[in-house]
């Protein structure tokens, strides 16, 4: 059994709630955040303050009431977004960075130079105000590795705490996950967080491959809720990772939390029930 290999970053309240048709009232968000806090989750992705006043209240509330978990606020690569986050005093400012040429060109209609410069400006803005910053490489699984390595080194210089590798469309296999994470981590010297989607049914196996490759932070959601076929389910991940690694979580408590989330989302069953 290997020890202390991973931390959980739960994104039920951000990527999970982003699943079409799912929404939580501010009160229910707080209930789930406190439950996740009690479970011993390292970080809770609380929401996107740029979305408006309701979301800002929710993130503020979590920062006040969660005692152990760090509360992260999600941002696009934009100073306005980051200002909205800072107004909520989160523990972590998370900045999402599209890194595949597909995303950079077709979504943003920009180029790689623009990304590098914007990243520099946005991160400097949050770091100068004393915030812990994490960066998220969006669509990393389809991005050029050398570009990501260069950007990763830039993040390291700017004092970013860890780098999220997002398999945004869920197309990686465990072998590919392992190879990419290991290459990026070795070459950039950044601590890595891995964010899986379950489009090919391999979110759990990919997340474990990421741990094996040295990723220290794993993104999960309660019941595996999330866009399309969902994210990596916390319960399923913990069950599988416990085969090889020591896990501080009590699985029954996590199952209860997943059942609560399912109820608050108004789902008849979580995604965990595939049949």
């Amino acid at each position: 059994m290997k020890k202390n290999a991973f931390h959980i970053v739960d994104t039920t309240l951000r990527d999970g709630e982003q699943s079409p048709g799912l929404a939580l009232s501010s009160r229910n968000k707080m209930i789930l955040a406190q439950r996740l806090d009690a479970l011993g989750v390292y970080e809770i992705e609380g929401g996107i303050p740029a979305m408006g006043a309701l979301e800002q209240e929710a993130v503020k509330g979590m920062s006040l009431h969660c005692r152990r978990a760090r509360i992260a606020a999600w941002n696009r690569l934009s100073l306005q977004d980051i200002e909205a986050s800072i107004a909520c005093s989160p523990d972590i400012v998370h900045i999402s960075v599209p890194v595949s040429d597909l995303q950079i060109q077709k979504k943003l209609q920009k180029d790689r130079d623009w990304i590098e410069q914007s990243v520099r400006v946005c991160i400097a803005y949050a770091r100068e105000r004393g915030y812990v910053v994490t960066a998220g490489f969006e669509d990393a699984s389809r991005a050029d590795m050398n570009f990501m390595i260069g950007l990763g080194r830039q993040l390291k210089e700017q004092g970013v705490s860890y780098l999220r590798f997002a398999d945004t469309v869920g197309i990686l296999t465990p072998q590919e996950t392992y190879d990419k994470i290991k290459t990026l981590r070795d070459a950039s010297a950044m601590d890595i967080e891995f964010h899986a989607h379950n489009d090919l049914g391999m979110a759990v196996a990919n997340s474990i491959a990421a741990v094996q490759a040295g990723a220290r932070y794993i993104d999960t959601t309660l019941g595996g809720v999330g866009e399309r076929a969902g994210n990596c389910s916390l319960v399923e991940f913990l069950e599988a990772v416990s085969l090889d690694y020591e896990s501080p979580f009590r699985i029954e408590a996590v199952q209860e939390a997943a059942a609560l989330a399912s109820k608050l989302f108004g789902l008849q069953d979580g995604r965990d029930v595939s049949l």
Partner: protein
């Protein structure tokens, strides 16, 4: 690159009260799948036989039996899969033999590996390929949610044969996930999926008596729904931005759901899909409504609510 797939869905239905006709239809639908063989259990075969003979097929039919004597009682199959009685050193998988009617070994099936999580199976799989060559099929089990990954790992390491079931029925790997991954990675033509996957899914739901989860990878009804503004906007510019593969591959369609994450472009796109044209002010009203109503209520604005919202507003102004 070539994978040889065995569909073992019909070995997992013994405890279900399935109409014999559906079993027959299943065999016909499997004709459209790139599978080499279909496996049946004796109870399922008995039920099927009460309706019809096994249809002639390019596919092989394999009967799963418990004792060699069963082979005599059920003639006519291309292969018979039975437990290997000889002791085996491999504690991670049960070994079965697939033999032809003349008792010649076709291949071994190794069933299990559920305590492996993907790449941790690599050395073991390499040793198995060394030992058995091509004459081995693996049937990874899903107790720890990694069966599909194990099947894919086997194929990526040069393994050929995989046994799996649709939607992972019976605790096997999900055939649709393994097949789709295989085609995505090898650049093959997945066009069978457009018609065959929805048909197989519907039959499976009828056989097991309840619908599949709407978020089930590859098969779920909701997996191509989008709500968040950033994604709807991106999808309008280029669908591949937020889609792992085109929805048509699996017989599904993109569908915009309006909720609290929807932005202006999502609202406009939804209106367009419904054949409505909105003024700027109306778009803002819908956005405000989504942020409050959806966050406190059920999570989505139905098409009817959307209509009513726009209609009421027109009446007021």
């Amino acid at each position: 690159m070539e994978g040889l797939f065995t569909d073992c869905t019909l070995t997992c239905l013994d405890s279900y009260d399935v109409e014999p006709k559906l079993l027959f239809q299943w065999l016909r639908v499997m004709e459209k799948f790139p599978v080499a063989a279909t496996a049946l259990s004796i109870p399922v075969y008995e039920k099927l036989r009460s309706f019809s003979a096994v249809p002639a097929s390019r596919r092989r039919y394999i009967l799963q039996i418990d004792r060699p004597a069963d082979k005599v009682a059920y003639p006519g199959f291309d292969g018979y899969l039975l437990p290997d009685q000889r002791p085996s050193k491999n504690r991670e998988a049960e070994r079965f033999c697939c033999i032809d009617p003349e008792d010649q070994l076709l291949f071994y099936q190794l069933r299990g590996f559920s305590a492996r999580t993907g790449i941790s199976a690599r050395p073991l799989f390499a040793a198995l390929q060394e030992k058995y060559g091509r004459r081995v099929e693996i049937a990874p089990l899903n107790a720890y949610h990694c069966a599909t990954a194990l099947a894919v790992q086997w194929l990526q390491q040069g393994g050929k044969r995989i046994a799996a079931s649709l939607a992972g029925l019976g605790g096997y790997a999900c055939m649709e996930e393994v097949l789709l991954t295989w085609y995505l990675k090898s650049g093959g033509d997945f066009s069978f999926g457009r018609v065959a996957l929805p048909q197989a899914k519907k039959l499976l739901e009828q056989m097991i008596g309840h619908p599949l989860n709407r978020k089930k990878a590859v098969l779920g009804a909701d997996i191509f729904a989008v709500e968040s503004g950033i994604h709807v906007d991106g999808l309008r510019k280029a669908p591949e931005l937020y889609e792992p593969y085109p929805p048509e591959w699996v017989g599904l369609k993109r569908n915009i759901v309006l909720g609290k994450y929807s932005g202006r472009s999502a609202v406009r796109a939804k209106a367009q899909a419904l054949g409505m044209k909105l003024e700027n002010g109306q778009v803002e009203t819908v956005i405000r409504c989504l942020q409050t109503v959806c966050a406190e209520g059920t999570g989505r604005l139905t098409e009817r609510e959307f209509y009513r919202l726009i209609h009421d507003q027109k009446t007021v102004s």
